[in-house]
Symmetry: C2
Subunit: 281 residues, 2 copies
Amino acid sequence: MSADVGRVGIVGAGQVGTMLGLALRGASGVEDVLVSDRDEATARASSELGAGELADVDETLRADAIVLALPVPEIVRFLEDRAKELRDGSLVVDTGSVKRPVVQVMRDVVPEGVHAMGGHPMAGTERPGPAGARPELLRDAAFVLTPARQDPEALSRARALVEAAGARPVEMDAALHDRVVARTSHLPHVVAAAVALVAENEPQRAVRDLAAGGYAGTTRLAASDPEMVAGFITANADEVVDALRELRDALEAAEGFVDEGNGSLREFLEDAGRARAEVLG
Amino acid sequence: MSADVGRVGIVGAGQVGTMLGLALRGASGVEDVLVSDRDEATARASSELGAGELADVDETLRADAIVLALPVPEIVRFLEDRAKELRDGSLVVDTGSVKRPVVQVMRDVVPEGVHAMGGHPMAGTERPGPAGARPELLRDAAFVLTPARQDPEALSRARALVEAAGARPVEMDAALHDRVVARTSHLPHVVAAAVALVAENEPQRAVRDLAAGGYAGTTRLAASDPEMVAGFITANADEVVDALRELRDALEAAEGFVDEGNGSLREFLEDAGRARAEVLG
């Protein structure tokens, strides 16, 4: 039965792995959930929060559905090292925020009898580790699925897994995913950091007094784990560089509008507000 | 008694004026609060929310402490038109987010017998109008006071007003205020708009599916009232242009780090995270 998820093995018990374990455990069609992490304390903390039964990585690889909840560079390395150990008929899905390198390595190294699918849940927090997991964020969130090869069973089983977690499966080409996510997520991370660094050059006492909700919100992503962010940005470098150039062009246009005065600047701001409202509905 | 606020007259019953009225009404040292607006429905809505007694502008100008809670260009125009009607011995404070033009016009047109003080409460929401007022945001928020002239009584009475509203008076030079606020507030507004416009060029269905908390948070300020934002940015144009140039330089550096790969990008992100944490404490 393709709608049955069976036993889930989660590799990587950080924020995302723990969030998925918490959302999947006890869900219809899910037999049980195993959680593992190369750092045992992390796996234990995740299991104690209720994400699943504590397991070692070997055990999780024998599950029916294996979820690789690791940073993008580690997903690639993990598949290169261990894809040959995956059982025939099992499903392997990842949660990385860049999809071209993952589906490429899936095509290259995952055995033909294994169903492979790129995945990216659009839910999470800035807080790393099991304690940052908020499974309620998955509820109705998009969970992008980027097929690695022509494999309808991979798609139907990945959809069942996503739906069991309460999220909304969205099939998308990996290249389109990476292009858009460079602009909706990776670019905002770089921008948040750049704004924080521009303000750092001013007298800090005045900055502290004047930094209100606008500063806090715009720089919020700068509180993310730098290692993780550098990992996904580097894995999506070509698209992030293009996005940065587009942004600098937009900022140069804005600078002209500021110089020209009220009218054209107001139009620029109105267009942006309309664009945002259309995206967020 | 300089610690007594007396009767407060609020000119401009939008979000900020309503917030201040709600915070000041019934506070110790505050006799009563009058609210007025050139738009009568706005003044009525504000008064009905509890911000103060409905009044016309003439009445509010006869109060002991007059608060000009208007957009920056309107504050300047209002003072040019009506400063001569202010009573000797009264206090006039504004709430505009750019201070050089306001203190300049105060110096130029407010009669010597009137105590004039530039002000900027670092609290508010994106929601315009009386319904957007959240007086609890004033609690312990910085309320910047930028002296217009050598006038100790203006300062002590403005401090008393700010403290009655539950906020924290912070004395600051108008030029330093404008320089820093260009980077902590006005720049984030332009950046939020630019990020929304970069994402607008991608297939909108994919953008909607992939836009998560990062997009929503980074573009949040693009939901502000374009007229108001264009007003304060235009009033602070020289500093905003400088800030935009600094930001484009930081983004150009970031682009280099993305090209070089993980190490230098991670350092850039770490520096930014540290800068932000130092500001927000």
